[in-house]
């Protein structure tokens, strides 16, 4: 895959246009002139346009991921804004939100503007998420107002769950004034203790300390109650347990400000896959039971979960090639995301394709307040062209991240991104 400037006039012709706003799929093409949408639908091919034949392919909005870790500043050996952008383009993503657990963390307006400046030249849109607390220590609130002015779109101490309920309450109250979501990695650190995988018969087998489901569900419950109390926007990241799903579902019926995401890996794997101490499956929150996995799929289908987010978390080889207790938490996920969720949700669980695409486009954009009607004339083109039916096997060579910590190598996926169009750039072979 290469990324280069789009031709001045390019026509994505003879495809199926999937519009996740209107919830329609219609045959046609999309004409992009000077990086902007010029026309959609039945289009005569202009003589001077470069034509991308989309026969049997779907053209839709570029995917949007609310949860990536691009490691810059501080761990550029794992990922940078540039290398992360390549991974995003490979996966069909044109817009991502970068978590603030960098070194130093994004806990000041200066740090936020560093990301804004450095990501300007990247081929995808990168929105910094600011830290909720100074140093992500869970105590003092950051300058959220100034950080929002610099471009922070949400606030989170992701990776470091906010333990103190009063800090979480104050953060939510403060955020109501700014109208931005708070994203709390929901985990009670005392209940989690030194748990490294789901507490289960599998953790018994492996002799590994377990992280119980209640460590997540009780914290999700607390956060939901606080969001209702404060009226703030709460976004629950990477939900992994059936009980958390039930609580979110219950709260959504009375509070429209709650949203939730799920990762491809929590939808694809259950904890049996860890039976041989596979460190690539060591993530936080942990891969849970089959019952949890099935409840996540059901929650996607009934709308309890709003969007797919990868939690793309690059780590070095040495961070993962070690004993399970010492291995880092997290996996990369941008490149494999679409093939995984298309397989799990559409092929295996008969979710309709439009619903899946809206969970990767309109819905995440709406949560953050981004423009989501991307087929409007004049809008800067953010598109993806994919083959909905291609079966393929995920390989190392499909990875464009600087890190390679993926558990999906050798897995058969369904649905494959063919071209990503973003910020005047596009991908090609």
């Amino acid at each position: 895959m290469k990324i280069s400037s789009q031709p001045e006039k390019v026509l994505f012709q003879n495809g199926e246009i999937l519009d996740p706003v209107k919830k329609t799929i219609k045959p046609g093409g999309v004409l992009v002139i000077d990086g902007k949408i010029a026309d959609t639908g039945r289009i005569e091919t202009p003589d001077d346009a470069k034509v991308f034949d989309c026969k049997n392919l779907v053209i839709t909005h570029g995917f949007c991921d609310l949860h990536v870790h691009f490691r810059e500043p501080g761990r550029e050996d794992k990922e940078t804004l540039q290398t992360g952008s390549r991974a995003a383009m490979a996966g069909g993503f044109t817009r991502v939100c970068a978590m603030p657990n960098t070194n130093p963390p994004l806990d000041s307006p200066e740090a936020v503007s560093f990301i804004q400046e450095k990501s300007g030249s990247c081929p995808v849109h990168i929105h910094p998420i600011g830290a909720v607390s100074k140093g992500q220590k869970g105590k003092e609130l950051t300058e959220m107002g100034l950080m929002k002015d610099m471009g922070a779109v949400a606030f989170s101490d992701d990776g470091l769950p906010i333990q103190d309920g009063s800090v979480m309450r104050r953060a939510l109250e403060y955020a109501t004034m700014l109208d931005v979501p708070i994203i709390n990695h929901a985990e009670d650190e005392c209940l989690r203790a030194d748990g490294v995988m789901n507490e289960s018969v599998v953790s018994n087998h492996l002799g590994l300390p377990g992280n119980p489901a209640v460590a997540e569900s009780t914290m999700v419950h607390r956060d939901l109650e606080l969001s209702e109390l404060t009226g703030a926007k709460l976004h629950v990241p990477h939900v992994s347990t059936v009980d958390a799903i039930d609580y979110i579902n219950g709260m959504k019926s009375k509070n429209s400000k709650v949203t939730a995401e799920v990762t491809p890996h929590h939808l694809y794997f259950n904890h049996e896959a860890l039976s041989f101490f596979n460190t690539h499956l060591k993530v936080a929150p942990p891969i849970r039971s089959e019952n949890d996995r099935q409840s996540l799929i059901a929650a996607v289908k009934d709308g309890t979960i709003d969007c797919i987010a990868t939690d793309h978390a690059p780590h070095t080889i040495q961070d993962k090639e070690t004993t399970f207790d010492l291995a880092a938490f997290g996996m990369i996920g941008l490149e494999s995301c679409f093939g995984v969720v298309k397989k799990v949700l559409v092929d295996d669980a008969s979710l309709d394709l439009i619903s899946l695409i809206s969970m990767m486009t309109v819905k995440p954009r709406n949560i953050m307040g981004f423009d989501s009607d991307l087929f409007k004339k004049g809008v800067a083109a953010e598109l993806v062209v994919f083959d909905p039916n291609e079966s393929w096997t995920f390989h190392r060579r499909n990875v464009y991240s600087r890190s390679i910590n993926s558990p999906f190598y050798g897995k058969d996926l369904s649905g494959r991104v063919k071209c990503t169009i973003s910020k005047g750039q596009w991908t090609h072979n």
Partner: protein
């Protein structure tokens, strides 16, 4: 010969291979009773004892087993501090393998470390305890000792007493005993028995007297000092009152129950001296059988040629 190249744990380990190890161990046990306690079975074989954690007893038992089989042995003790400094496990073990060795006996604080080791080296790997995961050679010597005492394992009723959650001895014993057809009841503080453990085919009973009434033999686990008084075990006297194997408690039961302990013992906590030193305790037999069963494991894994004249 055994079906698996390594001995990483007893989870899923073939029953007939456990039996083969125990049978061979009894042959070696006879060797240990001879005036000259040495056979040439593993001459020319080099074994590294790689201990990332202190365990004098296990290391000496393995070392003795290796010497009795005439193997060449090297001891390598990595201080846990160098591990914490981030010295790569992979670098350490690949360095050792580069020196052309045939087997590694490894003790490591991390569950799964021996399996991880097999990804980096070609030598045979024997797990001498991996954190809270498994300690298969301990379970085999425990089963050999039960075999010696009862003449069988199938149908035996075994109580495992103590902190199950943090015990590799318990987990390997559970796998081994269940596979060999014994019945197992776990007895200990409820929060130190992991949830879902009954999925492994064991039962739980928190009442030690009921377990004593039921069992043929008890495997009494060591109470780790570091769990004492940090909120996990309220106090020594509380533990002794609920789960201590005391003379008074045993006297209440009419039958003679067999007592095992993997050592080292906390006398006066999980077991009283009067019990530990009594005839019903077979703790010292366990130690001797430890050498014999480790000889059998090394011998069977390292392809020593079975020569009757050597060991019979």
């Amino acid at each position: 010969m055994l079906q698996q190249k390594h001995l990483l744990g007893l989870e899923g380990y073939p029953q007939e291979d456990i039996q083969a190890i125990i049978d061979t161990a009894f042959n070696f046990r006879e060797v240990l009773d001879r005036p000259i306690k040495k056979v040439p079975s593993l001459q020319g074989i080099t074994i590294v004892n790689l201990f990332f954690e202190n365990s004098t007893r296990t290391r000496i038992s393995f070392e003795l087993a290796q010497k009795r089989l005439s193997a060449d042995t090297v001891n390598f003790s990595a201080s846990s501090s160098s591990l914490k400094k981030g010295e790569s496990f992979k670098d350490t073990v690949q360095n050792i393998e580069a020196m052309k060795i045939d087997a590694v006996v490894m003790r490591h604080p991390a569950p799964g470390a021996p399996r991880h080791l097999t990804e980096f080296i070609d030598a045979v790997v024997i797990n001498a305890g991996d954190g809270t995961h498994e300690h298969p050679t301990q379970a085999i010597l425990d089963m050999m000792t039960l075999y010696e005492k009862f003449g069988k394992i199938k149908g035996l009723k075994i109580g495992i007493i103590g902190d199950i959650s943090h015990s590799r001895v318990a987990l390997s014993n559970i796998y081994g005993l269940i596979s060999m057809g014994a019945e197992v009841i776990l007895c200990g503080p409820a929060h130190l028995i992991p949830p879902y453990i009954t999925d492994l085919g064991v039962k739980i009973n928190y009442n030690l007297d009921e377990v004593l009434e039921w069992a043929d033999a008890l495997n009494v686990l060591r109470v780790q000092n570091e769990r004492m008084g940090v909120g996990l075990i309220p106090s020594t006297r509380e533990y002794r009152a609920l789960f201590g194997i005391t003379e008074e408690r045993l006297e209440k039961h009419a039958k003679e129950i067999v007592i095992m302990h993997p050592g080292p013992m906390n006398r006066g906590v999980e077991i009283d001296s009067a019990v530990a030193d009594s005839d019903q305790a077979i703790i010292l037999d366990q130690v001797l059988n430890g050498v014999a069963s480790r000889m059998a494991i090394l011998y069977l894994l390292l392809g020593g040629k079975y020569e009757d004249k050597d060991i019979k």
